[in-house]
């Protein structure tokens, strides 16, 4: 019966499955984190106010165009193809023998970065114009405005979309088996290649993917709640009264 098979496959190969799951989680997590950083930087750079004329305007325009091409390219091609191009292309063109794990994280990061750039752009647009004006009015420059006022609000706004991206990355790292990264799908393929029990082996992988995405979703929901802070605030004289009672 297949339940017995599932149990026996899971118990006999638990080390391979866990190593695969760990690799999947590592690539997805680092890829999402670096991708989010790339997206945030692009978001900040794209919203730098452009002067009316002069060299600075030309440079900023040029940077915008380059970033636009980056976003367009990586959003417009499948990650599985990008993986082949980056990994084998780099080897062939420059003779670079990339570490497979590094290559995987790199590909997920630049891919996620392209998506996150758009998500961050949406997040920045959704912040009220008055917030920028108030920050400028007290003399903040673009960086200060971004760091202290806008980005904290953007981060809160884009957290659900980022979580979505993270969950997608956990699943989509499976395509990286084409460059031989020993993530969960690759490991499962090895296991099933030995026992020829495809359904049961991949059923185990299925459960592991589900656990990972479920836990990550829960953790992100917790962060959202934490960021929102407490619903109520304490008046100062209430605090003082409480302290007074203690004293």
């Amino acid at each position: 019966m297949s339940i017995d098979w599932i149990i026996s496959i899971a118990t006999e190969n638990w080390e391979m499955f866990l190593r695969g799951a760990w690799m999947t989680l590592l690539i997805a997590t680092l890829g999402t984190v670096f991708g989010a950083i790339i997206g945030l930087l692009i978001g900040i750079i794209n919203t730098i106010p452009k002067p009316e004329r002069g060299l600075k305007r030309i440079v900023l325009k040029l940077i915008n165009i380059i970033l636009g091409i980056y976003v367009g390219f990586f959003r417009g091609t499948p990650m599985i193809v990008q993986a082949m191009v980056v990994f084998y292309g780099a080897a062939q063109a420059f003779g670079v023998d990339m570490d497979r794990t590094f290559a995987a994280i790199f590909i997920v990061a630049i891919n996620t970065g392209a998506y996150m750039a758009e998500i961050v752009r949406g997040g920045i647009i959704s912040v009220d114009k008055g917030q920028f004006e108030a920050a400028q009015a007290i003399g903040m420059n673009h960086w200060q405005t971004m760091i202290h006022v806008v980005l904290p609000q953007v981060l809160r706004n884009i957290l659900p979309a980022t979580g979505n991206q993270f969950v997608m990355n956990i699943k989509d790292t499976s395509v990286l088996n084409v460059i031989g990264v020993t993530e969960l799908y690759f490991q499962t393929k090895s296991v099933s290649g030995n026992n020829f029990r495809y359904f049961e082996s991949f059923f185990v992988a299925c459960i592991l993917y589900l656990i990972m995405t479920f836990v990550v979703t829960k953790i992100l929901h917790y962060f959202e709640k934490r960021l929102d802070g407490p619903q109520n605030y304490q008046m100062i004289d209430d605090l003082e009264q409480m302290e007074g009672k203690k004293a």
Partner: protein
């Protein structure tokens, strides 16, 4: 009297639409100036041009002997000398009341955290909200938000405080608390430039009233002069329309 800001031949166009036409205007130290006029007369744009939220199309803004519209002038430094209070409050949504009043002081003026906190508490007391330091903006009423916004502007200890229709977005019963704070401030010798629709308030607190219409300053003078003995036909008809309601 020593003027704080002097505006010469200021103009501003949005596309082909000329909003401000050749404005000459100055604010003296310790003076409370109210700018009145109907919607679309350019009074808010004038205020926003003064602190460069809108880039003027032409003319000069002279502050401490320098034309701040010169290309190499440090705009951010100039802006710290002008406090701005917005119609829609624009408190930093991610920060609590105290931090709203501190962040500009520590990050822009580079004051120490404890100095900044003392200054912020001093001005939050002035607006009567020192008990609310832990509240986030979304937990406050409109009137409270605007009073925090005033404290935030005061915390930068600017040379002049600009108010852009500070009570227009408020429920009627909250207008009073904000105007009361502003009256108290006017009494302390603070230099204030106020764009407002509150005629009674303008009459009471102003040293000088400026009437604008269609992008030009039509008439200016003491409140007594403007409200009781207006000279210009446009001023007369505006006041008649306003006080009929």
């Amino acid at each position: 009297m020593k003027n704080v800001i002097e505006i010469q031949h200021l103009s501003k166009s949005f596309g082909t639409h000329e909003v401000l036409k050749d404005i000459d205007f100055s604010v003296n130290k310790g003076e409370v100036v109210c700018v009145i006029g109907s919607s679309g007369s350019g009074k808010s744009t004038l205020l926003r041009c003064i602190n460069l939220l809108e880039r003027p199309s032409g003319g000069q803004i002279v502050y401490q002997g320098d034309n701040i519209l010169d290309n190499n002038h440090n705009i951010n430094n100039y802006r710290t000398k002008l406090g701005m209070v917005f119609q829609s409050f624009n408190l930093f949504n991610n920060l609590n009341v105290l931090t709203n009043c501190i962040v500009g002081q520590t990050k822009v003026l580079k004051r120490s955290k404890s100095d900044a906190e003392n200054v912020a508490m001093k001005y939050l007391k002035v607006v009567g909200l020192d008990r609310y330091v832990n509240a986030k903006p979304h937990q406050l009423s409109g009137g409270q938000k605007q009073r925090v916004a005033i404290a935030r502007a005061l915390s930068m200890e600017p040379d002049v405080l600009l108010f852009d229709e500070p009570t227009s977005a408020l429920d009627p019963e909250m207008v009073g608390e904000v105007l009361k704070v502003m009256k108290e401030l006017a009494g302390t010798g603070l230099t204030m430039l106020i764009v407002t629709h509150e005629m009674e308030f303008a009459r009471e607190v102003s040293d000088r009233v400026v009437f604008m219409d269609k992008g030009v300053i039509v008439e200016e003078g003491s409140p007594e002069q403007i409200f009781n003995h207006p000279q210009n036909e446009r001023t007369k008809s505006f006041l008649k329309r306003t006080f009929k309601q």
